[in-house]
Symmetry: C2
Subunit: 138 residues, 2 copies
DNA sequence: ACAAAACTTGCAACTCTGTTGCAAGTTCTT
DNA sequence: AAGAACTTGCAACAGAGTTGCAAGTTTTGT
């Protein structure tokens, strides 16, 4: 794991620091998406708030993580499993928010369906957020 | 219009006040979704920030407006055209965000497609947000 | 292995968004 | 017209996110 993390950081031309290593480790160990506050909590306040913001920002820009728009307008982040890079995300999967446990999940198996808009609209990106009860809470 | 506004407010058991009338008027006159800040700007700071928040909250609860989750996690609101009520929204249309003019639009003509999730997930609500170039900016 | 260059971090200060309690004001009911 | 019910503005606050800067760490080149 330690090794995998270094590889990811170096591959993205990022210096290997304690904060980045720890935060990336959290993402790799987690099955659901993380909010900024989750990260602060899970690192045991070991890093400054600002460092967490900047790290997430950097990871986003490099395409290591993607942000997830949620129905309640809170921001969550999850690892990109799809080999995304510098501003070119191409994970087109559905996102699921469980109303029982509150987890936000990437449903990698399901891609966002194509949709036909009225003439004149040019589609660049489609996001789909499903709310309901996840399989652990059913 | 004045008359229509009073009818909407009374139908929802809301007292007719200056603030509510003005804000509802804005929504009726607007073709795209409004953010809190837009409303403050357009009312010429005639009402307190808190009143605007409380009015939006009330309109949401009554089903007069619905909130729109945007890809950049800012909150926008638009009129419900679909006869929604107290916590029972049933506008299932696609939302569009133009990356040129920044407008957020309800595409009432297009409903959100059904999606099949893996076994065990129970779907309650689906939101679809399309980003691209709108027909005015094409 | 070392020094210099390049980058990252923590801190302080600040802005912006949203919330709450309360008293004064307005609207609705009779 | 008066009282009850509801709405508003104010002040105070909490939380989220941003920025500049100096000190600290990582990287690179020798
Ligand atoms: Mn995802
Ligand atoms: Mn809409
Ligand atoms: Zn769940
Ligand atoms: Zn446009």
């Amino acid at each position: 794991m330690e090794e995998q993390i270094q590889k990811i950081l170096k591959h993205n031309q990022l210096s290997v620091t304690g904060g980045r290593t720890k935060i990336l480790e959290l993402f790799l160990a987690q099955d659901d998406a993380l909010a900024h506050a989750d990260i602060e909590r899970k690192t045991g306040e070991k890093f400054d708030r600002v460092t967490v913001y900047r790290t997430l920002q950097t990871f986003l820009e490099k395409g290591i993580i993607h942000s997830i728009p949620t129905a309640d307008n809170s921001v969550k982040y999850a690892l990109c499993k799809d080999n995304c890079s510098e501003g070119h995300h191409h994970d087109h999967h559905v996102h699921f928010m469980c109303s029982v446990c509150g987890k936000t999940l990437c449903i990698d198996e399901v891609s966002v369906p194509v949709v036909n808009l009225p003439a004149g609209y040019k589609v660049e990106q489609i996001q789909m957020i499903v709310t309901g009860v996840c399989k652990d809470c059913a």
